[in-house]
Amino acid sequence: MQLPDPVTFAIPAFVLLILIEAAIGRYAPKKSNYEMHDSAASLLMGLGNFAIGLVNFGIVGAVALWVYQYRLFDIGYHWWAFVLILFAEDFVYYWFHRLSHEHRIWWAAHINHHSSQYYNLTTALRQTWTGAFIGTWIPWLLLSFIGFPLALILFQKGISLVYQFWIHTEAIDRMWKPVEAVMNTPSHHRVHHATNPKYLDANYAGIFIIWDKLFGSFVPEDKAEPCRYGIVKQIASFNPLIIAFHEWAGIFTDLFHAKSPKAAFMYVFGPPGWSEDGSRLTSRMIKERERIRLAGQTADAAD
């Protein structure tokens, strides 16, 4: 069965919405913030991701079809298969995304998506160039093994990507409560892109925020603490090559200087920010430092 590619159909809407959002920013800067160099970097990252995807697709597709031979069930294209894969693919996405933040080797491929200090619709297109080479597609093989046909998986991946486009915006405030309770929204995803300590490593959801609520990674947006976007150690370059490869360069430098095999292992597979001498901070350490600082402030206020 042939299914349409949702992304191809959505591209004109992507372009139109970006132009509308940029125009909103001209009159309401708090609602949207655009800078040409930043947007150019994001769009070129998206273009590069698209080109690399064309090359990689054959390999990834072949592996998925190989796994599909050993499938547990014959799910096919029944109407309920479309409902089932909506949740199954989103569950896989949640874990792929969470692992991408918790282990440096996948973080090196995902960091580019977070490297912008701006948060607008072009940020959604700031996609990875290196993910496919280090197997970030492996979690989706679970769906082939369960028995979802490849075309259905690709269709749902496209739906997820299109869904996640519109949530990269400051132009939409909190939505209707039932929507915020179940769906990933601009408010939830702003938190995910924020570097404020209380927001780090939160809201990994793709379409449904329920996974974060279920697995303890949900943090609501707090109006008293506006999001500061980007990465903990911001980079000073709009060059797509540097955006795509700077964390890889960091890994190789650390490996070169590692003093033990355990340290070498941790520099690749440990949490981002881990270092042998503790001179750098992981998200957990940043959160702990902030907790101590706030506790000190409260104690000072009580005195």
Partner: protein, 142 residues
């Protein structure tokens, strides 16, 4: 209907180029200018609770050097589009900095992959302060 990638890719590249031009026309030119207030506001978010001892802003207002009370090194803040980026200059980096054109420009070399070199134009009134930053760190290194 599948579109040939040889047509698709150049078309996509062309569309991206047009979109970039449109964003430039709509958003205008954006460049943060460093001032004491914006610097303080930025650092309150970046290094909350850390007390600033002194700072020097470059003559073109694109860069600033900051010294904290805790003696953890000197920070270089650079204007980056409409935003700012903080980079810590440890002893090793400060040892590599050198003066150009007498003592009017401090040359700060590239740090790693993501921080390009900087030509920091120092005003006459601030020259001694910058020398002290460098000297302090060099003394600490010694």
């Amino acid at each position: 209907m599948a579109i040939d990638p040889l047509i698709l890719l150049p078309a996509a590249a062309g569309a991206v180029l047009l979109l970039i031009i449109a964003i430039r026309l709509i958003a205008g030119r954006r460049e943060a200018e460093l001032a004491p207030e914006t610097l303080a506001q930025f650092l309150a978010g970046q290094e909350p609770g850390e007390k600033i001892v002194s700072f020097v802003i470059s003559e073109d207002r694109r860069y600033a050097l900051v010294e904290w009370q805790n003696g953890k090194g000197i920070g270089l803040i650079r204007s980056f589009g409409a935003k700012m980026v903080l980079q810590m200059l440890g002893q090793d980096m400060l040892l590599k900095c050198d003066w150009r054109e007498g003592t009017t420009i401090l040359s700060i070399p590239r740090q790693g992959f993501a921080f390009p070199p900087v030509k920091f134009a120092v005003g006459e009134a601030d020259r001694q302060m910058v020398k002290d930053y460098l000297k302090g760190e060099k003394d600490a290194a010694a």
